[in-house]
């Protein structure tokens, strides 16, 4: 039973860590949109992790019930055609949870349009030290309207 609580402890601890960082800052009410989005994304990934672990636990419990059901059938000398109805219900619940976790855990889809709001050209590339701007391109009039 305690090992079932550890994912919940992980979730609450990570929430308190994030909350503690913010309260120690001087301008705690001016956190940027970017940090808010990162916290929300981290929270969703933690929740997805907990949901996935629950789904796998439910599936393993269903497997254990099926093993016991097969033992019972061996005693009664009947054929195994399909698992009993409560096991089927457990399987459906477990698969639904795992489906939700599999679609949420790996991460978000990022937009690939260069014009969208989140793909702005402000972020510095890694080789910005090697870039020079004192070349003959300064004589051309600017044609590209980039969002800054």
């Amino acid at each position: 039973m305690p090992f079932l609580l550890t994912p919940l402890i992980v979730v609450f601890y990570s929430n308190s860590i994030l909350g503690g960082e913010i309260s120690q800052r001087e301008n705690s009410d001016r956190e940027s949109n970017f940090e808010k989005k990162r916290k929300r994304e981290l929270l969703k990934m933690n929740l997805g992790f907990v949901v996935g672990v629950f789904g796998i636990l439910i599936l393993s419990h269903a497997a254990y019930s099926t093993i016991q059901y097969r033992g019972l059938l061996k005693i009664m000398e009947e054929e195994f055609s399909r698992p009993p109805m409560n096991v089927v219900l457990e399987l459906i619940i477990g698969v639904a949870l795992c489906l939700w976790a599999a679609l949420t855990l790996p991460g978000k889809f990022l937009s690939i349009h260069p014009d969208s709001d989140e793909n702005r050209a402000v972020s510095l590339p890694d080789n910005s030290e090697f870039m020079i701007f004192n070349h003959r391109g300064r004589l051309f009039p600017p044609q590209i309207d980039m969002k800054f």
Binding site: L59, R70, P83, L91, A102, P106, F109, I112, Q143
Partner: protein
């Protein structure tokens, strides 16, 4: 100067530009989702006790459900996140088949033979 301006303007509007690293990130997300779900499908097929061709049909059914789920995650508009619709629908279809068969035989042995 005038002709070179026109040429660079045409170039800018002809080539469809998109952020390649975001596309790679999206493809990685799809691949991770499909791998995880093919493992879950394998465990499910082993527990229920599918034999032979029924299991492979089950795998394709689960992959179709995954495609629908990924389309729902992308908001049913694949233009925003991918360059072509075929990528999100049919990208990792056969990649998860090996994992599916592995976990299918594993779960089947665990539940039905031991």
């Amino acid at each position: 100067m005038g002709s070179s301006e026109k040429r660079s303007k045409d170039l800018m509007s002809d080539i469809p530009t998109f952020s390649a690293e975001n596309l790679q990130n999206n493809l990685k997300v799809i691949q991770n989702s499909r791998t995880f779900l093919s493992i879950i499908a394998g465990v499910l097929a082993g527990i229920i006790g599918f034999n032979g061709l029924t299991g492979f049909v089950f795998y394709f059914v689960v992959m179709l459900i995954t495609s629908v789920g990924l389309m729902a995650k992308a908001g049913f508009s694949a233009d925003l996140y991918f360059d072509s619709l075929n990528r999100v629908l049919f990208d990792g279809f056969l990649g998860g088949l090996m994992s599916f068969v592995l976990f299918w035989t594993f779960a089947y042995d665990l539940v039905h033979i031991f």
